[in-house]
Structure formats: structure tokens, C-alpha cells
């Protein structure tokens, strides 16, 4: 018995001893210390390291996430901004390399993520102004020609003029001598020496001349903005050194010999930076090219890519220049990685057939439905024929390929296609070479291969087919979805449904290629069950309201006041025209001629009439002079005055006061826009508002013309007056020869020169 108790006690002690370190480990305290340089330069990365260690032992902690904060203020509002996060490495350091664009003392603080009990640490970095980023130099540079040449020319002109003007002074001085020789000196003595006009005038001239020259000397330096003291720009990108960027399209003149610098010059000069970013980091317009191989760069640059990448022939960008560009891109890789990886989003490529619901890998993946559009978008640019594998048709996808069949149905591991897209290929490069496909697309491809790479998805019943293919647009229960109208209204005849599904209608594509006729009829049968019959034979207002609600309200709102589609309570169309619009559609409105019976259309027309009657315009009742501001005046001021003038006399657009247009014309122009730049206010203004504005405009009267007498009248009158005066003077003989003090002496005019 005691042996058992002894063993039991030992076990308890052992277990407890094992538990203690574990609990101790859980309760271990952590400390953070922040290391950063004292100084920094704007635009250059500063390495900040946060060291996380256990408090007691000082052992580094790996895998902890630390958050770095910097101080910031803007227009009087201050606070901390998160500079970034880092995970500590095995040495316990979490490193961030931010760069600062403002030259001041930055307060950096680090905290542990989700661990407020760990005391944060902070440090100050004094950032000073760094190198100017780009020295722009546009145009042709002629050595020695600058503002100085113009300055010298103008200074020379003024100097010559002043020399000539000093003639005043010398004339005056020699005259003074002559005068002094003529008369006695005691004639004039003045206490204050008289200022002769000559020195004064010349002095003024000199001052004006100097002032002009100073103006010239001063201007270029103080306003050139090329290298101002203490001024740093918010940079788009940072360079290690200044360089000369001659401007887009200009031949790069100054290649320094350093491959990376020259590569960047070329990268910018040929316009690559415009889409790919100054650092090659990629933008929303184009992916980053920094991770591409040299041969891939050459391929893409020479051939272009769909989506906007142009092709550059060998005469435009030489192979040597591509070497330099590639060197620059290689150097850019580290920087891009340090910034957190490529910052691109692949350009959005729209497909005509909607893919499956995103986020879910469907159980039935068919080539036609799911894989073909994906291949079109991502692979088709090169794999018309690259590597002997074509992505164009099902047969070619499965059977072609220089290195054996790309797809082995059911075998993901051995299918070359699967290997390539997942990066596990045994030869060549991963596909696509620039950047791997998003994970869900890769999964889709693998699922397709796994399921036997069928050409069409496995057939299902009408309901499952509807859920798979139709619900995306028409809603899971067929009551309308993102892109498709509800199918729950009065059902079409089944044959009509079949033809719509087969051939499509409006924005809906046909499914003839992707569904078998059996499947289509199953779907049609299902759709019929979704609809409900509307009672009543005669078109009635209630029926019309119902039809409207089912078919029209999603665009025009339940009460016809307009939503996506325009308001229908006010319209310039006649009943016949309205009927035609409903039947045949107009611009984005689909045609309902087949979906609605003629009875239904009549019912809708009744409904619209009723709506117009109750909410229609009454332009004759515009109040004027009652002291109550017109309801349209505020609206006018808000929406129309910017172009048509606050007083409706015109401005950028024509004046509206005293317009000769009819009410309907005004309304039609407000709704639908007008040539010359008037936008359509359909959908922007409600029907009531349009009515108010229209009546306001119509009651504005035209006052006198703003600018008065037409110019040509003034010119004509002036010319006429002058001519009449000249004619009258001529008649009086006032201009003829005569007068003067003739004394018999021959006058100038008699002598021939």
C-alpha cells in the first residue's frame, strides 16, 4: 500500500514540476526595444528595428508581431499613423524600412500587436532634406545660351542709350563754359547749386536701365524652382542619385554608364514608367515587370500584350537598351519586395459569360462554362501557339502541346497544365510567366482536371441547372438579381422561354452552346413554375399597376417616379409613342414586346396615364409677384446657374430669359440634354423638380440686352460719321492749298529736291 501511495506522490510531484515551467513560460514578460539611426534623409529608407526579448532572461522572441507608429499632423490635426508592421525573426528583430518625405524630427514608436501590457518604446529620428529627385531639363540644351544672353543684349542696348544720353551732360557742360566766357561770373551765385536737367534726366534713365537689368538677372534664379533651399517635394519615387530625365519621347542624351541609372532613364524615357510606375512597382494600369526574366521582357516588349502594352520594334528600343532596363528592373526587385511585394492588381478583363459564384468551387466544372473564358483572358495572348499548346478550343487544350498532352483527365499530378499553373512544373517556366494566377482560378483549373476535364459540366435537373446557370443573374429564387429581371411575373409560354434561353435576349447571352436542348427544356419547365398567373382579362388600372410593379418598377420605381430609369410621370411622348417604347425598348431599356401581352401593355399605359394625371406638370400655375419665391428658383440656382448664369442671361451656356421654346421643349432638353454640352438631367432631377425648373425658366422675362448696341453698328456709325465729316470739310475747301504767310518768297514746295 505505501508503495502505491509513494508512486502516486512521485507522479504528482513530477507532473507539477512539469507544469510549473509551462505556466512560467505563459506568464513570461516581454520587452521591446527600438533601434533606429539618429539621422535620416528625406526619400531614403531608414532601417528601424524592434528587438523583442523576454524580460528576465533577455532571450530573443521570434515570431512576435510589432507595430510601428510615426507622428503626423495635418492642418492642425495631429496623431499617430501606423508606419508598418513586422514579425520578429529568429534574432528577435522586427525590421521596417520606411522612408520619410518631410524634413523634421520624427517620433517613432513601436508596440507589440495585441499586447498592450508590453511597454512600448520610442525613438526620435531627425530627417533632413535630401537630394532633389529629378532635375527636369526639357527642350534643346544649347551650351551657353540662357537668360544671360538676353540680359547682356538688353544691358548693351541701355548702355548705348545712356552713352547717347550723356550727350545732354556734355552739351550742358560745354555750354556752361561758353556762358562763363560770355558774361561775368558774379551774375549768378546761388546758395543751392541748381540741378541741371541733364544730370537728373540722365540719372533717371540710368536707374531705370539698371532696374530693368536687375529684373532680368533676378528672375531666373528666384523663380526657377529647380533647387530651392530647404524645400523637398513629396516624392513619387526615390532615386539614389540625380539624373537627367530629358522628357518622354526624347532620346536619352546623358547615359552615365551606371547600368541601373541608365536603365531607369530609359525606362522613363520610353514611357514604361507611365503605366508600370517610376519604380517599376506596377500600378492599376499595368503589372510590375520587375520579376520577369530577361527573355520574357524581350518577348513582351517586342510583341506587346493585349490590354494595352504596346509593341516596340528593334528600331525603337534596342536589345542593349533592354539589357539596361532589365538591370534596372532587377535592382528594383529588392525595393519592391521591401515595400511589401508587387503592388499591382491585374487588369480587369471582362468575360461575356458570367463565371460561377466567386469564392465557391462548383461541383460541376465544365470547360465551356468555366475554363474557356479563363483561358481566353489569361492565356490566349500567347497560347495561340506558344509551346505548341493552344488554349483556343477544348480539343486543342486537351490534346495539343509540344511536350505531351497538357491535360490528363482525372490526373492532376501528371497534367502539365496543372503543374504549370501551380508552379510545380518539371520543365520550363511557371505559367503565366509574369505572375501566378489567383488561387481560386488555379483551384478551378485543378478541380476541372480532377473531375475528368469534361467539356460540359455534368447535366442536372432544371432546378439545379437554374441554380447553377441562371441564379447568378436572376436570383436564387428567380425574383430578380444583379443583372437579370425577376422571372416570377406572368410566365411566358414555354416555347418562348425556350427560345429566350437558347438565343438570348438583350444583355442575356444565349445558352445554345452550353446547354443541350434537353437541359434547356428542363430549365424552361422550372422557370414556368416560378411565374404566377395574373387574373383578369381586361386591362385594368390595378392590373396595370401589377404589371408595372413586376416588370417596370425595378428601373422606374413603383410609382413611376424614376430610379435607374427616368421618371415616367412627366413625358413628352404620346400614348402611341409610349406603346412603341414599351414594345421595342429604347437605348438601355429592353423590349417588352414579347414579355408582355398587348393587354398587359394597355394596362401599363392606363397605369401611366393615371400617374401622369396625378403627378403631372401644371405650368400655368407658376406664382409670380406674390412674394413667395418660385419653387424652381432654388433648383435653378443649384443646377442651372453655373452654366446659364445666375440671372439666366447666359454665361458659358446661352441665356434662358425670354426663351422662345415651348414647355415641352424645355422639359425635353432638361431631361435629355441638348447639343452643345447641356447634360441630361434624367435620373438626376425628379419629375417634380424638372417641372418647377421649367416653369421658372419659362416665366423669366428678357430684359434689355446685356452688351448694348452691336459692335458693328458702332463701327459703322463711326466710319460713316468720319466720312461725312471728311466730305463736308473737303467741300469747305479747308484742306486745299492756301493760307500761310505768302510774301512772294519761294516756299519749300517749289523747290525740287
Amino acid at each position: 500500500m505505501t508503495a502505491v501511495w509513494r508512486a502516486f506522490a512521485v507522479a504528482i510531484v513530477v507532473v507539477t514540476m512539469c507544469l510549473i515551467p509551462a505556466s512560467l513560460a505563459v506568464a513570461q514578460e516581454l520587452e521591446i526595444e527600438l533601434f533606429a539611426p539618429e539621422d535620416g534623409i528625406t526619400g531614403q529608407p531608414v532601417e528601424i528595428a524592434a528587438f523583442v526579448r523576454e524580460a528576465g532572461t533577455g532571450r530573443p522572441v521570434e515570431g512576435a508581431t510589432v507595430v510601428f507608429f510615426g507622428d503626423a499632423s495635418f492642418v492642425g490635426v495631429g496623431g499617430d499613423i501606423e508606419l508598418g508592421r513586422a514579425t520578429t525573426n529568429e534574432a528577435g528583430f522586427g525590421i521596417l524600412r520606411p522612408s520619410f518625405s518631410v524634413s523634421r524630427v520624427h517620433e517613432i514608436r513601436v508596440e507589440m500587436l495585441d499586447a498592450p501590457e508590453v511597454a512600448p518604446d520610442s525613438v526620435s529620428i531627425s530627417v533632413s532634406v535630401g537630394l532633389q529627385i529629378i532635375e527636369p531639363e526639357a527642350g534643346v540644351s544649347i551650351p551657353g545660351v540662357g537668360a544671360w544672353v538676353v540680359t547682356l543684349v538688353i544691358a548693351a542696348v541701355w548702355a548705348i542709350m545712356i552713352v547717347a544720353a550723356f550727350g545732354f551732360v556734355s552739351v550742358s557742360r560745354s555750354g556752361k563754359e561758353a556762358e562763363a566766357a560770355d558774361r561775368d561770373n558774379e551774375a549768378r551765385r546761388h546758395l543751392i547749386p541748381q540741378l541741371s536737367i541733364a544730370p537728373v534726366g540722365t540719372g533717371i534713365m540710368v536707374l531705370v536701365g539698371i532696374g530693368l537689368v536687375v529684373l532680368l538677372i533676378r528672375s531666373p534664379e528666384s523663380h526657377s524652382n529647380l533647387d530651392p533651399e530647404g524645400y523637398d517635394r513629396t516624392a513619387v519615387a526615390y532615386l539614389e542619385a540625380t539624373y537627367v530625365y530629358p522628357g518622354p519621347g526624347h532620346a536619352p542624351a546623358a547615359l552615365t554608364g551606371d547600368a541601373v541609372t541608365d536603365g531607369r532613364v530609359l525606362f522613363m524615357s520610353y514611357g514604361c514608367a507611365g503605366c508600370h510606375g517610376v519604380d517599376g512597382q506596377g500600378t492599376s494600369a499595368a503589372r510590375t515587370p520587375a520579376f520577369a526574366t530577361r527573355s520574357w521582357v524581350e518577348t513582351v516588349v517586342r510583341a506587346g500584350l493585349p490590354g494595352g502594352m504596346p509593341a516596340y520594334g528593334a528600331g525603337e528600343v534596342t536589345s542593349d537598351q533592354l539589357d539596361l532596363i532589365h538591370d534596372f528592373l532587377l535592382a528594383a526587385r529588392d525595393r519592391i519586395t521591401a515595400l511589401g511585394g508587387p503592388t499591382t492588381t491585374p487588369p480587369v478583363v471582362t468575360t461575356s459569360v458570367p463565371t460561377t459564384v466567386p469564392g465557391e468551387v462548383p461541383t460541376a466544372v465544365g470547360f465551356e462554362e468555366d475554363i474557356a473564358p479563363l483561358f481566353n483572358a489569361e492565356c490566349g495572348a500567347c497560347h495561340g501557339s506558344a509551346g505548341g499548346w493552344s488554349a483556343a478550343t477544348y480539343r486543342e487544350v486537351v490534346e495539343s502541346g509540344d511536350n505531351g498532352p497538357a491535360v490528363i483527365p482525372g490526373d492532376v499530378a501528371e497534367s502539365v497544365l496543372a503543374q504549370k499553373v501551380s508552379g510545380t512544373q518539371t520543365f520550363g517556366a511557371a505559367m503565366p510567366p509574369v505572375q501566378q494566377l489567383p488561387p481560386d482560378e488555379v483551384a478551378l483549373i485543378l478541380a476541372w482536371i480532377q473531375n475528368g476535364a469534361p467539356e460540359r459540366a455534368v447535366a442536372g435537373t432544371g432546378a439545379t441547372l437554374f441554380a447553377d446557370r441562371c441564379a447568378v443573374c436572376h436570383g436564387a429564387a428567380g425574383d430578380g438579381g444583379a443583372a437579370g429581371p425577376p422571372l416570377t411575373g406572368p410566365p411566358l409560354p414555354p416555347t418562348d422561354i425556350v427560345s429566350v434561353v437558347t438565343d438570348g435576349r438583350g444583355a442575356m447571352g444565349g445558352f445554345a452552346a452550353s446547354l443541350t436542348p434537353d437541359e434547356i427544356s428542363q430549365v424552361a419547365g422550372f422557370v414556368v413554375t416560378l411565374g404566377e398567373a395574373v387574373p383578369g382579362d381586361e386591362p385594368s388600372l390595378a392590373g396595370g399597376a401589377e404589371v408595372f410593379r413586376l416588370h417596370c418598377a425595378r428601373c422606374h420605381a413603383d410609382d413611376a417616379s424614376g430610379d435607374v430609369g427616368p421618371a415616367l410621370t412627366i413625358s413628352t411622348l404620346t400614348t402611341d409613342q409610349t406603346r412603341a417604347v414599351i414594345a421595342d425598348g429604347r437605348s438601355e431599356m429592353p423590349a417588352f414586346g414579347e414579355a408582355l401581352s398587348s393587354d398587359d401593355i394597355e394596362a401599363v399605359l392606363l397605369f401611366l396615364e393615371d400617374r401622369r394625371a396625378s403627378a403631372g406638370p401644371d405650368l400655368t400655375a407658376a406664382p409670380s409677384g406674390t412674394g413667395v419665391p418660385h419653387p424652381g428658383s432654388e433648383l435653378y440656382a443649384a443646377a442651372c446657374a453655373t452654366c446659364h448664369g445666375a440671372d439666366a442671361r447666359g454665361g458659358v451656356a446661352s441665356g434662358l430669359a425670354g426663351t422662345a421654346l415651348s414647355a415641352n421643349e424645355v422639359i425635353a432638353r432638361v431631361f435629355g440634354g441638348h447639343e452643345g454640352g447641356m447634360p441630361a438631367f434624367e435620373g438626376v432631377l425628379a419629375a417634380d423638380d424638372v417641372q418647377n425648373v421649367a416653369s421658372y425658366v419659362l416665366e423669366l422675362e428678357e430684359e434689355g440686352s446685356r452688351t448694348g448696341i452691336p459692335t458693328i453698328a458702332i463701327f459703322g456709325l463711326a466710319a460713316l460719321a468720319l466720312l461725312l465729316a471728311a466730305a463736308a470739310l473737303w467741300r469747305t475747301g479747308w484742306f486745299n492749298k492756301g493760307g500761310g504767310r505768302g510774301t512772294g518768297e519761294p516756299s519749300n514746295s517749289d523747290e525740287r529736291r
Binding site: 552713352v163 547717347a164 560745354s174 536737367i197 528672375s219 459692335t711 468720319l722 484742306f735
Partner: protein
């Protein structure tokens, strides 16, 4: 002193000595017009430029038209005083003083119109303080200042002997301020050989220097337009075109001024039909040059009809501005040439009528250059229209009145004829005859 010289001196002294009532009426009338223009300017300063017809699309109008017009007129002096002096055309002497003064006054008036065009005239100094030499407007400021200074110098230098003449003859007979003025401005001219030599040197320097300055001024004014990319202004020949137009309108203005002053101050003996004819021929020659420039510009751009050019042509030749353009072309260029070729019309009256047409046509031409250039839309919007308002017309009238007032005042104070030069020229002509002996019996 010969009777001719006696008559010349009397004629020249007369305006400075006596003042008729008509003079006071004229000055009063001009001051009234200027007063009304000042009121209009006050309205513009307080209410802003909205009181003019200028808006965001057509932002230059009558003011800039008049600025260019007056700067253009200022080239009259350069042509007569400098170019004709350099080429030793002795017939110019009776008219040089008037021409030089028109230059200075026109420059001042033109510069004033630029200030009037500013809605915030206090910002004028920003051009000096913050000017960038890359700007055509700064070039304009520099060129016009240089030209104004040069033309004032060039006006004053040859006037020194005449002012000395006034000083000798008028001291005591005119109000004291005038006596003082003549004495000061004559800077001790005693007609010594030293002085004559020094004056001659200065005048020679100036007469050569002022020609490139004058050419540069109106070229730079034209570059205010031609350095833009507006379709109607984007022409390489604008510099030449404007300089030719400036000389053209300058001659016309000079003819008109001469005719008026000749009639009022009875200068018929000295400013004769010959002067009018010579100036008229020069004017017709410049009209031919302008015609050629217009043809060159419109044929060249019309043949190609680059984007936007069709609009310019349409509005200029057939639509809104057709009356202006065809008036300018026919009445301003073709008719004066025709008139100068018609002997019956080569009278003083006919030549003055031609000059009036030319001045009117050049004003119209400046107007439609400014407005058509701005009217062509830069984007797809409706072309705007411009019509000057009463404020602009009032200030325009005030500008013309200011110009006339300055001329009127000048004639009252300063010697209207270049007596010294005319005397020199006549003596130079008479001397060879003396040398040839008295056999011809002509009196010097």
C-alpha cells in the same frame, strides 16, 4: 536773317506765344471726355471687369485692341525721324517733330490701356517683382520701357537747339513757368561748335539704335499673341506683320495729325503737298506690304486648313467678322493704294481721307485679330460672342482724348517745327549754289 527763316520762326513761335479761345474750348472738351472716361474707369474698378464685355472665353477686347493700336502708331516717329534721317531724306524735317512726339504720346497711351485692362491694377508691380523672363509679357514690359525711354531721348535731343531758340526769343514774353522751362530744357545750348559736335554724335547713336528697338517693340507685342497656340494667332509672321502694320498706321496717323496742325497753325508753307504725297506713297507702299502679308498668311493656312483653321476662316471671311475683315482689306489696303495711284485724288484732302481709312481699318484689324483669336473654341463648346460695353467705349474715347490732349498741350509749349534742322538743311542746300557763283541769281 532771310525772310523764309523769319517766317519759319514766327510760325513756330506763334503757338507758344498766343492762345486762342478755341484752344481752351478744345482742351475743355477733351478734359470733359477724359473726365467721363475716368468715371467709367471708376465704375470698372469698383464693380470689376464684369462691367466690360469681356468674359471667360473672350477675355481680351477693346482695351488690348487699343493697346496694340497705339503702340503701333508710335512707330511713326521711328520711321520719320530715324529711318528717313538715316537715309538722309531731307524732306522730312518739317514733320519730324510732330512724328517724334506722336511716338512718345502714343506709347504712353498704349501703356495706359494695358493698365486699364487689369481688373487689379495694383498687381501691375508683380510683373516687376515676380517677373519671369520666359514670359512674353515681361519682354513686352522691357521692350516698351526701352522704347519709351529711347523715344523720349530721341525727341529731346534734336529739340535742344529749338528750345534754346525759344529761350532766346520768348523769355519775358510768356508766362514765367514757360521761361523757366525753356531755360532748363535748353541746357545751356549756345550753338558752339563743341556742342554741335556732341549733339550730332548723340543723335547719330540714337537714330541708329532706335530702329532695332522700335522693331523689337512691336514684334514683342505681336508675340503676346503669336507665342500662344490659338489657331488664329499661331503664325510665324506675326512679328513682321505687326511691325509693318505699325509703320503703316503710324504714317496714317502722322498724315492726319499733320493735316490738322497744318490747318490750325498755318504751316502750309512748310508742310506742303509734297510732304503729304511722299508720306502718302510710303503709306501706299506699306499697304502693299500688308496686303502681301495677309495674302501670305491666309493662303498658306487656308490651303492646308489644319484643325480649327476652317472655323477661323469661316468666321473671318463669311460669317460674324466678315464686315470687319473685308472693310479692312478693301477700304484699308486696296482703296488707299488705288487712291495714291489716282492723280486726281493725290491732293492733301485725298491723302488725308486715305489716311483716315487706313487708321480706321487698322483699328478694325487689331480688333478682329484679338477677338477672332479668342473666339475660336478650344474645346467642343459654343463660341462666345463679345461686344464692348459703354465702359469700354468710354475709356476708349478717353484714351483718344488723352492722346489728343497731350498733342495739343505739347504744341502749345514746345516748338512744333524743327526750326534748327530745317535751317541747317536749307543752308546746306544753299551753300553749293553760293559756291557755284551768283550766276544763277538765286537767293539763299
Amino acid at each position: 536773317m532771310t525772310p523764309w527763316l523769319e517766317r519759319l520762326e514766327q510760325t513756330t513761335l506763334e503757338p507758344a506765344r498766343t492762345t486762342t479761345r478755341g484752344y481752351y474750348y478744345l482742351v475743355g472738351g477733351l478734359l470733359a471726355v477724359i473726365g467721363w472716361a475716368l468715371y467709367a474707369y471708376y465704375v470698372q474698378i469698383t464693380d470689376g471687369l464684369v462691367v466690360t464685355g469681356m468674359r471667360d472665353r473672350i477675355s481680351w477686347g477693346l482695351y488690348i485692341t487699343l493697346f496694340v493700336f497705339f503702340i503701333g502708331i508710335s512707330h511713326a516717329g521711328t520711321l520719320i525721324s530715324a529711318i528717313l534721317r538715316v537715309s538722309n531724306a531731307t524732306w522730312r524735317t518739317p514733320v519730324t517733330r510732330m512724328a517724334e512726339f506722336i511716338t512718345a504720346v502714343a506709347l504712353i497711351t498704349g501703356a495706359l490701356f494695358v493698365v486699364v485692362d487689369l481688373g487689379r491694377p495694383d498687381r501691375l508691380f508683380n510683373v516687376l517683382i515676380h517677373g519671369r523672363w520666359q514670359s512674353p509679357i515681361v519682354w513686352d514690359v522691357i521692350a516698351i520701357t526701352t522704347y519709351l525711354t529711347a523715344s523720349l531721348v530721341y525727341l529731346y535731343l534734336p529739340m535742344i537747339p529749338d528750345l534754346a531758340f525759344f529761350r532766346e526769343r520768348l523769355t519775358g514774353r510768356v508766362p514765367r513757368w514757360k521761361s523757366w522751362l525753356y531755360r532748363k530744357l535748353a541746357i545751356r545750348w549756345q550753338d558752339t561748335d563743341t556742342q554741335k559736335r556732341k549733339l550730332h554724335v548723340s543723335i547719330s547713336i540714337m537714330m541708329i539704335l532706335i530702329i532695332p528697338i522700335a522693331v523689337s517693340v512691336h514684334t514683342v507685342v505681336s508675340w503676346i499673341f503669336a507665342m500662344t497656340l490659338r489657331e488664329a494667332w499661331n503664325s510665324a509672321i506675326f512679328g513682321f506683320f505687326f511691325v509693318a502694320g505699325a509703320i503703316f498706321s503710324g504714317i496714317a496717323t502722322l498724315i492726319i495729325m499733320m493735316a490738322i496742325l497744318r490747318k490750325v497753325y498755318r504751316l502750309e508753307e512748310f508742310v506742303t503737298l509734297k510732304h503729304f504725297r511722299y508720306l502718302g506713297f510710303l503709306m501706299a507702299a506699306m499697304a502693299a506690304v500688308m496686303l502681301y502679308a495677309n495674302v501670305s498668311e491666309y493662303v498658306t493656312s487656308g490651303f492646308k486648313l489644319e484643325e480649327g483653321a476652317a472655323f477661323i476662316f469661316r468666321q473671318l471671311f463669311v460669317e460674324e467678322f466678315a464686315p470687319y475683315f473685308w472693310f479692312y482689306l478693301i477700304a484699308g489696303l486696296i482703296i488707299p493704294i488705288a487712291m495714291m495711284f489716282t492723280p486726281a485724288l493725290r491732293t492733301v484732302g485725298g491723302i488725308v481721307a486715305a489716311a483716315v481709312l487706313v487708321d480706321l481699318a487698322m483699328f478694325v484689324e487689331r480688333y478682329f485679330i484679338v477677338v477672332t483669336g479668342l473666339r475660336a473654341p478650344l474645346l467642343a463648346y459654343e463660341p462666345a460672342n463679345y461686344a464692348p460695353t459703354w465702359v469700354e467705349w468710354s475709356i476708349a474715347a478717353g484714351g483718344f482724348a488723352f492722346f489728343a490732349l497731350l498733342v495739343t498741350l505739347f504744341v502749345k509749349v514746345f516748338p512744333i517745327m524743327a526750326v534748327y534742322e530745317m535751317k541747317e538743311e536749307r543752308e546746306a542746300l544753299a551753300r553749293p549754289r553760293e559756291l557755284e557763283g551768283a550766276t544763277e541769281g538765286s537767293t539763299p
